[in-house]
């Protein structure tokens, strides 16, 4: 018989490595057939957070990125240690505000694109002044919300 203990996911405040979400304690008797499956379970942190000290959670507002599957209220995992590349979805500082957009650079220059036809692309006149705050690595979208 085995008992399962449900732990909370390690917070990103944690200085050590990610902890497994499900832990199996075998107390006595027969091994549970569920055991192997359980060992494959991992924590959300381990899945979505490569580099804990550089990773922040932010919340999406508005629907300018709905085409990329990012909706208002979603939780974005943002990693500051990742290098932004062409077409990365980034959090940038634009006119003093935090924005989530797709970064695009080509021969026309640097642009921040919304993924929604209702929003105009933002042309960045002075790319050296553009602050990329971090690169979005995951989006946590709740499915219970209406």
């Amino acid at each position: 018989m085995s008992t399962l203990t449900l732990l909370a996911a390690a917070t990103i405040d944690s200085p050590t490595h990610n902890s497994p979400l499900l832990v199996s304690h075998v107390s006595c008797g027969f091994p549970s057939p569920a055991e192997e499956f359980i060992e494959e379970m991992t924590s959300l942190d381990a899945l979505a957070i490569d580099n804990p000290p550089a990773t922040f959670l932010l919340k999406a507002g508005g629907d300018s990125m709905s085409g990329a599957g990012i909706y208002s209220g979603d939780i974005l995992v943002v990693d500051r240690s990742k290098k932004p590349v062409n077409k990365s979805i980034v959090v940038a500082i634009y006119e003093g505000e935090f924005v989530c957009k797709r970064l695009l650079f080509d021969r026309d220059g640097v642009r921040l694109l919304a993924e929604n036809p209702n929003f105009q692309p933002i042309h960045i006149a002075n790319p050296e002044e553009l602050v990329i705050w971090g690169v979005c690595t995951y989006n946590l979208h709740g499915l219970l919300q209406l």
Partner: protein, 424 residues
């Protein structure tokens, strides 16, 4: 050639201001100050605020009135936010070098012995690049043969070379720099000792390093002689040494037996908190916040790993054992997870300020404090009689006390799910 002894000190520039700026881009390029507990005095300044002549300890309301034309921003201290920034900075540094010891909320010593000049300069450079990129906090780096020299190099990086990086691994470079550093700025030399040294004609770190050992030994406590040795490039201070001057009080230890109950964890943390509070009173200081941490044994690779830290701010500065250990109780409840075998826990007192600077006039101050203390002693008595489980009472009382009176405090962007920064 490798250096047998080499230390690096990495510290965050204008730490509290930088931590605010990570989340509030509108604070970039304008004068910013952070006001301490209860919106009293200035406890951090941006470079722009320093340029206006604003001093540490200036009353916040006065600064606001006097400098509003310059667009000054006054932020109420948010120690939860600063605690998170600090932990990120420490972990980023720890990802670059094995042996690190935080010395205060915004500085960390690295033992980099056994590296070549090339490796050391590369390490300093990547630290200087990586910490701001990962955490948003710009840092200064000082490198020297001893802890005291690394601290001096760090000072020079800010005030003398001004490029945020100072490398003093050769005796000639160290000597040259020490001639420019006033004696009062040497780590471990307090106002009384620097006063006495000046009266003996010792004005710079170099003067002090060249003073005869006999005179130093005869005239001063042994810690001063150790500091002199350190300036001469001879390691004489250990980071773990309790005599080592520090701005942070840290009490913690590994448990003999793994701790698995909330009761045990809470009483351990509360005991550490009482000990830290006693230290605090001995050095006549008060604190604004306490950080509690606990973790499993990282060397038990087969066991699930868990680690958590939480910062509890106080409404006003305190050195009262009861308030501090009540905070530890409350923190323990946040940290605790059933099924986790805790191997180590501890408390860290942050925002240390001298006792005298803190008795501000506050309508709610004295009465509140006395009531609080009376309540605390009743609660303690109940707990003593009926056991620690009665702690829920203490926690409720404590919570009211930990609601700081703050006019313009930033949301806890990094630590609270309610306050996530919204991006559009």
């Amino acid at each position: 050639m490798t250096h047998k002894s080499a230390f690096m000190l990495c510290d965050g520039n204008n730490f509290y201001v930088s931590a605010e700026r990570v989340w509030r881009p509108e604070l970039q390029g304008v004068p910013v100050v952070v006001s301490g507990s209860n919106d009293g005095c200035v406890i951090a300044r941006s470079n722009e605020a320093k340029a206006l002549g604003i001093k540490m300890g200036d009353p916040a309301f006065q600064v606001r009135d006097q400098f509003w034309r310059s667009g000054i921003q006054v932020c109420s201290a948010n120690f939860a936010l600063y605690g998170d920034a600090s932990s990120r900075m420490m972990r980023t540094v720890a990802s670059l070098v094995d042996r690190t010891t935080p010395n205060s909320i915004d500085e960390v010593f690295c033992d980099a012995g056994g590296m070549t000049d090339q490796q050391l300069t590369a390490l300093a450079q990547s630290m200087k690049d990586l910490v701001p990129r990962w955490t948003g906090i710009p840092v200064g780096i000082g490198t020297g043969k001893t802890l005291t020299l690394s601290k001096l190099a760090n000072y020079a990086a800010k005030r003398i070379t001004k490029d945020g990086n100072c490398y003093l691994m050769s005796d000639a470079d160290a000597e040259e720099m020490m001639r420019q550093v006033p004696i009062a700025e040497v780590w471990g030399i307090g106002p009384a000792i620097s006063g006495k040294l000046r009266s003996m004609g010792v004005f710079t770190a170099a003067d002090f390093a060249n003073l005869s050992a006999e005179v130093v030994t005869r005239e001063f406590p042994v810690t001063v002689r150790r500091t002199q040795l350190e300036l001469q490039g001879v390691p004489a201070i250990s980071i773990q040494d309790p005599d080592t001057p520090r701005q942070m009080i840290n009490v913690g230890r590994s448990f003999g037996q793994p701790v698995t109950s909330l009761d045990q964890l809470a009483s351990a943390l509360s005991e550490f908190a009482s000990r830290a509070a006693a230290k605090l009173r001995r050095q006549k200081s008060m604190i604004s916040a306490i950080r509690l941490y606990a973790r499993t044994n990282p060397f038990k690779h087969d066991a699930p790993q868990y680690s958590r830290a939480v910062t509890v701010p106080f409404a006003y500065p305190t050195n009262d054992t009861r308030r501090i250990s009540a905070a530890a109780f409350a923190g323990a409840a946040v940290i605790f997870r059933p099924g986790v075998a805790f191997a180590k826990a501890g408390v860290l007192l942050i925002g240390l300020e001298p006792e005298s600077a803190n008795r501000q006039d506050d309508l709610f101050y004295s009465g509140d404090l006395e009531d609080q203390e009376r309540l605390m002693s009743v609660v303690d008595a109940i707990n003593a009689k009926f056991g620690r489980k009665t702690v829920s009472v203490a926690r409720t009382i404590g919570k009211q006390a930990w609601m700081p009176r703050k006019e313009s405090v930033s949301p806890n962007y990094a630590t609270s799910t309610k306050h996530f920064k919204v991006v559009y």
